[in-house]
């Protein structure tokens, strides 16, 4: 995992091919949502971009428990 500061989020997202339009993160024209709670992702509430995939989580760390549950076979 690579850590980033909140202000770096827009740059990282753009580098990974996401678009930021009217404050929201888009991919292929569609609003990207937290894979757990469904919140529409804005750079300010981005928490995680998962390794090797296009799954994003918001900044509620408990949403990451979904990933822990499934990916880590917890």
């Amino acid at each position: 995992m690579i850590t980033y500061e909140p202000e770096d989020a827009p740059e990282i997202l753009r580098k990974l091919g996401y678009e930021i339009k009217r404050g929201y993160v888009l991919q292929d024209g569609e609003t990207v949502r937290c894979n757990c709670c469904g919140r529409a992702i804005r750079p300010s509430i981005l928490g995680n971009i998962l390794p090797g995939s296009r799954i994003l989580y918001c900044d509620n760390p408990v949403c990451f428990a979904e990933y822990v549950h499934i990916r880590f076979n917890y």
């Binding site: 995992m1 850590t3 980033y4 500061e5 709670c37 995680n48 760390p61 822990v68």
Partner: protein, 284 residues
């Protein structure tokens, strides 16, 4: 550091000097134990064994972020810096805790299971004296899962998951013809208990002593409940439940009272255990 992620990083030709790891001490999980000599007043030099974990994460320096797209292709993920500790706490539960929690996996709703994962992480941080990140994660747990999440934390913190619920689950599985049936039975039991848990009252700043009395009496009024634990955290909370229990016992002396004091992340806590006694019959 080893593993396929690091092999890929090296193959990408990133200079080692750019790869600054994010390290924490006295954190969750136990990758290795350090030995430190400390001088303790009255005891002299002692060896202190302390678990130390380096969280396997790279700091996103400008040079590293420049190569974000390449790193992403190498299976690197990105995590906002302030979330690294709580997320690592969830991904690295204590061994025994993980073993126990996994038993519930197929028997409670997925959201409750994830709340349990988060509850263990909160408790782990608390038990290591990391009260601020523990509190922050606790708030996040309740923000996501509401009162139900808060109850799951309380049940876990107070040991009911580890004693009462696990025994019930194991017994249900033992008695059931198959796990599908056990899941149905235990699931119903779990939901009932989460709606109203008659064995304990967890107090908070907003509860008055009268409300504590009311909640405690309500629990004793049902289905042969003979023992109720009343929990408080912090000096004010402790004073409140003592006042409430004293008021309860003044009106009804047929209780035995025991107290257990303990700290959670340096905050004093109290559990008052109330047991209903059968009134003595007068002999003729």
């Amino acid at each position: 550091m080893s593993g396929t992620f690091w092999d890929k990083i090296k193959k990408l030709g990133l200079e080692a000097s750019l790869l600054k790891g994010v390290a924490y001490e006295k954190v969750v999980g136990e990758e290795y134990i350090t030995k430190q000599k400390q001088t303790i007043k009255g005891k002299g030099d002692v060896i202190v064994y302390q678990p130390v974990v380096n969280i396997i994460a790279l700091e996103g320096t400008p040079e590293v972020l420049e190569r974000a797209a390449i790193l992403f292709g190498a299976d690197a993920g990105f995590v906002r810096k302030d979330l690294l500790l709580p997320e690592h706490a969830m991904a690295s539960p204590r061994k025994e805790a993980r073993r126990l929690i996994r038993e519930f996996r197929a028997f409670i709703p997925p959201d409750d299971y994830r709340a349990l994962i988060a509850a263990e992480a909160v408790c782990n941080l608390e038990d290591r004296g990391m009260s601020k990140p523990a509190r922050a994660l606790h708030i996040s747990l309740e923000r996501k899962y509401g009162e139900r999440g808060g109850r799951i934390y309380n049940l876990y913190r107070s040991g009911f998951i580890q004693d009462f619920f696990i025994l019930k689950l194991r017994y249900t599985r033992y008695e059931s013809p198959n796990d599908i049936n056990a899941a149905r039975l235990f699931g119903a039991f779990w939901n009932d208990q989460l709606e109203f848990f008659e064995r304990a009252v967890w107090t908070n700043e907003m509860m008055t002593p009268d409300r504590v009395v009311e909640e405690t009496k309500q629990r004793f009024s049902g289905r042969g409940v003979r023992r109720v634990n009343v929990y408080a955290r912090g000096r004010e909370g402790i004073a409140k439940i003592r006042e409430a229990v004293d008021a309860l016992l003044e009106n009804d002396p047929n209780f035995r009272k025991m107290e257990e004091s303990y700290p959670i992340a340096k905050t004093p806590c109290l559990c008052i255990i109330l047991e209903k006694m059968t009134p003595r019959r007068r002999s003729r």
